[in-house]
Structure formats: structure tokens, C-alpha cells
């Protein structure tokens, strides 16, 4: 009987766990190890972060669901992989520190036949001095708890505006190498929408501070859309939204540090700038969670399995080459480790072979390089793909072909909320195909028949429907498996 261990219970890990449980008979064991006791629908943290939705609407406890489904749940943080076992046994295992264990307590072991690394990222606030809610001076919406704290800060700022004070609210990216610009983009529009709804918009200056070369890049190198007889860049689409809402934007920035009420940043021309703020939500850069790996003799093999960023290498081409030679073929198809046949990585945990946006350096060497997003829809598809591959190998034997969902040819749909409300809400709905631009096939890198963007109430309805649909799916309620990722 096979045992599958899944590290992480985010979108990729939870999708893999639930689909594996559906595919495999109960005799096969599925174990999820996650430091968090709850599942979080992260896209709706945006609404929690402005006080428009309670925390309880975006999370649910994992233990009761997994008990119902027959999935073993270990709340803890994975620390090391032993893919060849140890001197005593060749059975591979994972070491993890259980939640609540004493700092000097020895890690627990969980053996496996197949391993899915879906840990998601480490939120690397430490990369920028003064960044983040843990001892820093900014807030975040990356977790439900962070979003609650962001809401408190935002509403405190609103209170000060009600007393007549003017406030500067800054939303954006806390480092030159950040990803997830979409989250900051959504948050800044929700902040602006709430300021208007609460009647204090005239007291606020709202600024979007980003490492994108232009707004609308989203770490995807931007995209092109048909509009009014032209093919326009997404920069025009995004700038239009900022201009309409009176939000200032600063691009090509690298935040060097945050002090109370002051953001210190540089831009690609090495201009050293300061931006005062009363409230700031800055997304941190991501890196791998710091898993170590060891061979049977106990020698460390971390660099064989993981890229320097801490993310796991999979079936991608990691050869260093100039931007002009980057190709969609560099991107992974099966998400399996090239070193061990029974290890897969899905979601943010896999190491991208390179960026999609062109990385740029200032004359003094400051790197401004938005990383490619691989969350949400793409993370779910990766989770499904590795689940199907593992299920086939368990049921049909080690020669069963792996499933493929090439990252480069995935499409993506992004519904970026620009304010909630059944009749007054708004969202930017963006579809694109493919995720990785292919200039050999498409004049503008992507298929314009499948790449589109529009703003309106319909987008808000869609985001609201998706919120409930994906929570229904994650809770494994009737016919959950029919809902696509």
C-alpha cells in the first residue's frame, strides 16, 4: 500500500490531497503536513484587509475536513527531506517540527512513497529592513491574520481622516524582486473604493509603489489587448484605472528600507527617494521555506534539489542564458524532481527557470526584477497534475506515464477586485493565454482571441461567485470535484 505525503495545505497542496483521496482507495495513506491549522482562500484576503469581510469568511479548519475525508493531518513545519532514507533504512522520510513543540524538541519523521512539496513561500520580510507586521512598520495581506491587522491599520487611518487629518496611504511591493503585484493592485483599488464609501476620499493621498517596469506588467511582462480598433498594452488599461481613481503610481522601484512613516526606495536610474506614509501595505519578496535535503549517508544535498532561491527544481531548463534566448520550452510540464522520481513540487514551491518580465539593473547594480506569479489558478492545476500522476503510478505501476500541464501553455484568468458591493462593486477581469509569452507563435506573445481585459460590476459578481465556489470546492461539498481549478 502506498503512502503519499504532501507538504503544505494551500491551494496546490490541498488540491493534490483531496484529488488523491478521491482517486486512491482508502488502503493507501495520504498525509498532509502543514504549519497552519486552517485553509485560507487567499484571494479574498483583499476584502478582509479593508474590513469588508470577516476573517471567518476566508478560512476553515483543516483537521475536521481531513478526518471526514480520511486524510491524516500533521500540524507542523517540514524542515528536512531524506529521499534516500538513512543508515538504518532506505525508506525515504520527511522531518517536521510539530506545532507547539519545544524549540529543542527533536523533529518527527514521516516516511513516504511519494512526496508533494507544496509548501508555498516564506514571506521574506527580512529582505527589507523595517518591512512587515512582525516588528516592521508596514502591513501585509498575504495571510488571513495579516489581513485582519491591515484592516485595523486602515480603519485607524480612516478614523484620523474623519477627525480632519490628511493621510498618505501607500500600497505596493516591498522589494525590487517581489511577485504578486496583482494582490497589491487589488488592494489599492479596494482601499480607494472604501475611502470613497466612507466619505473620506478627499482627505487621502493614495500611492501605488511597484517594482514593475510599467503598471499592468504584473510580473508577466504585461500583455496586449484589442481595444477600440487598436492593440494596446496593459499599461494603458492599468493606468486608466489609476487615473480614474486619482491614485498616483511609482514604478521601477526597489524599497531599501522602511522607517516609521517613511519609505526609502531607489528607482532604476539610481535616484534615492523617500516617501512619507501614514499607512502602508507592502508585499514582501518570496523565497523557499528553507527545506534542507540529505542523502543516505547524511551528507547535505540541498543544492541538488533546490535552487538558490530555496524553491524546488523540477523538470524545467535551469540553464543560465540571456533574456533573448528564454523560451516557453524552458518551463516545466510534469513538476517532478529531476533527481528523485517520487518527489514533485507544485504551486509557488517549484523553482521557475527564469522570470517572464525582463529583469533590469540600475547603473549601480540595484536589481529590479518582478518574479512571475504562480498562485491561484495555476497552483491548482499543478496540484491536480501531480495528484493524477501519483495516482496513476500507485494504481498502474511505476511505468504509468506522468500527467502533463505545461506551465508555459496554461491560460490564466485574474479577477482583480476594485471594490466590493452588489450594485456598486467593480473588478478588472483579465484573461490571458498563454501565461508565458510565445513570440514564435503570436505577434504580441499571446493569443489576442483569448487575452482580454475589462472593468465593471460583472467582474465583482464573478469574484464573489468564485469566492463561494472555491470555498465549496475546498470544503469538498457535493460535486466539489466537478469545479475546475
Amino acid at each position: 500500500m502506498a503512502k503519499v505525503v504532501i507538504l503544505g495545505a494551500g491551494i496546490a497542496g490541498h488540491t493534490a490531497a483531496t484529488l488523491l483521496r478521491r482517486k486512491l482507495p482508502k488502503a493507501h495513506e495520504i498525509v498532509v503536513i502543514s504549519p497552519e491549522p486552517e485553509w485560507n482562500w487567499v484571494p479574498s484576503n483583499i476584502w478582509v484587509g479593508v474590513g469588508a469581510m470577516p476573517r471567518t469568511s476566508v478560512v476553515f479548519a483543516l483537521a475536521p475536513l481531513y478526518a471526514r475525508l480520511g486524510i491524516a493531518f500533521r500540524q507542523g513545519r517540514a524542515v528536512a527531506l531524506h529521499p534516500e532514507g538513512d543508515a538504518a533504512s532506505s525508506t525515504p522520510f520527511v522531518e517536521y517540527t510539530p506545532a507547539g513543540a519545544a524549540a529543542d524538541a527533536p523533529p518527527q519523521r514521516e516516511t513516504y512513497d511519494f512526496l508533494v512539496n507544496a509548501t508555498g513561500p516564506k514571506l521574506n520580510f527580512a529582505a527589507t529592513p523595517g518591512l512587515g507586521p512582525h516588528g516592521g512598520h508596514t502591513v501585509s495581506v498575504c495571510t488571513a491574520d495579516h489581513a485582519v491587522e491591515a484592516a485595523h491599520g486602515f480603519l485607524a487611518s480612516v478614523e484620523r481622516m474623519r477627525k480632519g487629518e490628511r493621510q498618505t496611504l501607500v500600497v505596493g511591493m516591498g522589494h525590487g524582486t517581489c511577485t504578486c503585484q496583482g494582490a497589491a493592485f487589488e488592494y489599492v483599488f479596494n482601499v480607494e473604493h472604501e475611502l470613497r464609501r466612507l466619505g473620506v476620499r478627499d482627505k487621502a493621498r493614495v500611492v501605488y509603489l511597484s517594482n514593475e517596469y510599467e503598471v499592468g506588467d504584473f510580473g508577466m511582462g504585461g500583455l496586449h489587448l484589442r481595444r477600440g480598433g487598436y492593440v494596446i498594452p496593459s499599461r494603458m488599461f492599468a493606468e486608466s484605472l489609476f487615473a480614474e481613481r486619482g491614485i498616483d503610481w511609482i514604478t521601477r522601484s526597489h524599497v531599501r528600507g522602511v522607517a516609521p512613516g517613511k519609505i526609502d526606495y531607489t528607482t532604476l536610474d539610481d535616484a534615492e527617494q523617500e516617501l512619507g506614509f501614514d499607512f502602508a501595505m507592502l508585499i514582501p519578496p518570496f523565497r523557499g521555506i528553507g527545506l534542507a535535503a540529505f542523502d543516505r549517508s547524511g551528507a547535505e544535498t540541498t543544492t541538488k534539489l533546490f535552487a538558490p532561491s530555496g524553491f524546488m527544481r523540477v523538470d524545467a531548463d535551469y540553464t543560465e542564458k540571456p533574456f533573448e534566448q528564454w523560451s516557453p520550452a524552458d518551463w516545466p510540464r510534469t513538476y517532478r524532481s529531476p533527481v528523485y522520481e517520487n518527489i514533485f513540487a507544485a504551486g509557488i514551491a517549484f523553482a521557475p527557470p527564469h522570470a517572464v518580465s525582463r529583469p533590469l539593473r540600475s547603473p549601480k547594480g540595484t536589481l529590479v526584477a518582478p518574479a512571475v506569479p504562480r498562485t491561484g489558478m495555476t497552483a491548482g492545476i499543478m496540484g491536480r497534475t501531480v495528484a493524477f500522476s501519483i495516482a496513476d503510478r500507485v494504481l498502474r505501476g511505476p511505468d504509468a506515464p506522468l500527467h502533463e500541464a505545461p506551465f508555459a501553455t496554461m491560460g490564466a484568468a485574474c479577477v482583480a477586485s476594485a471594490g466590493s458591493g452588489l450594485l456598486r462593486g467593480s473588478a478588472a477581469t483579465i484573461t490571458m493565454y498563454p501565461v508565458v509569452p510565445d513570440y514564435s507563435r503570436y505577434e504580441f506573445g499571446r493569443d489576442l482571441d483569448y487575452t482580454s481585459g475589462e472593468v465593471g460590476l460583472a467582474g465583482h459578481w464573478l469574484k464573489f461567485v468564485l469566492h463561494h465556489l472555491f470555498l465549496h470546492k475546498a470544503r469538498c461539498r457535493p460535486l466539489w470535484w466537478m469545479i475546475p481549478e
Binding site: M236, E239, S240, F242, A243, E244, G246, D248, W249, R333, T334, I381, R384, T385, F388, D392, A400, P401, L402, H403, E404, A405, T409, M410, G411, A413, L423, R424, S426, T429, T431, Y433, P434, Y450, S452, E454, V455, G456, L457, A458, G459, W461, L462, P484, E485
Partner: protein, 57 residues
Amino acid sequence: MTPADISRPISFASVPTRGTRFMRTFVPYQLMRFTLINVKMLRLLARAHHTKPRGSQ
């Protein structure tokens, strides 16, 4: 926009007309857009979101 905005990036961006803004919250039109966006996403799913065994067509 005011003369004070001229040096800000905002003054170089396109902005929606009053008619466009009205249509963004005009419920009958948005119901139609909601349907069309869903069709668009289903087409995208049909084209780009297959998970299939290696070597299969």
C-alpha cells in the same frame, strides 16, 4: 483634472468617458457582460487547462 495635475503621470493616461463609467455599473449591460466573461473563461479552460498523460493527444 486641474492644472496642478499636468506634471503627474495621471495627466498622460487615458480615462473612461462618462458613458463608459455608466455602463460599468448599468445592471442589464453588466448581466450580459457577466455571461460573456463566463463564456470567455470556459473557452480558456477548454483550450488551456487539460491535464493529460504524457504522450497522449
